[in-house]
Symmetry: C3
Subunit: 117 residues, 3 copies
């Protein structure tokens, strides 16, 4: 189900100015309307499965990334992009395929307001 | 020839505030002088060839990325960087090597003005 | 030792507005307190070793990336994130594991002030 596949990154938080990222849910809530830049690197570890990770905006996947190499110990599913968010819109990462049994270590998810609209 | 190798990403446009990215040509034209941040993730699919993708500024490649794994279904050639652009300068992606026969799906190309000069 | 493993990227400098990045040392020094965005893509070439690259802030690794595929000619260890820096804080890349005997070609390291604090 949805809750199980959402990626939670609590221990990797480096910066959370304004506290618009909720560590308990790993959801970013836009404080105002604008263009936001998001970047994610989700690392699978000792895992021969393919993973697919999506940046989800209000429940809809907008950007996806894959990591499917069977022979490496660590590989990142990475992508980045700009999205327009209204105040209160929610952005988070979802694991669409595979699992992160090795944990979320070294994974990052960052976003910031590029300019308001 | 040049036109054939330029990467066109029309259907992946998520944000185009100011309409400085031309969907018909996949070329970004700088609206003013400044430092711009660009990021690209070009995904090859079921393709054993190595691809090389460059961010091209006014005809000159400034940043390149590679994807050359033969054994994965999807792999991204990804890079990012800052460039100074004058008003009217053009930035676009060029496929320097290989092909994207599997299509551009999941590929992204994003850019924004970091600060004006 | 520390100096030997620090990654130096002198010839890849594209933009250095404000000259806060020192080409001689490859260290970025924050000109003021704020949230900074950093992105790096370090490419290993014809190298079967795994490399681990970290973004180091005042001597502490804050973000890491890996490239460990043995069968590709070029592969990037890539990650990105936001960090809070005080004026005078230093950020640079460190090669934690492996080597870049094939050189730093195509590698990038970029950072900019997202907003002051």
């Amino acid at each position: 189900d949805f809750q199980d596949s959402q990626i939670r990154l609590q221990e990797t938080i480096i910066v959370n100015v304004g506290s618009h990222f909720d560590p308990a849910t790993s959801i970013f809530v836009a404080p105002r309307k604008g263009v936001y830049s998001f970047s994610f690197h989700v690392v699978k570890v000792y895992n021969r499965q393919t993973i697919q990770v999506s940046l989800v905006l209000n429940g809809w996947p907008v950007i996806s990334a894959f990591a499917g190499d069977q022979d490496v110990t660590r590989e990142a599913a990475t992508n980045a992009g700009l999205v327009i968010m209204e105040r209160g819109d929610k952005a988070y990462l979802k694991l669409e395929r595979g699992n992160l049994m090795g944990g979320w270590k070294y994974s990052t998810f960052s976003g910031f307001l590029v300019f308001p609209l």
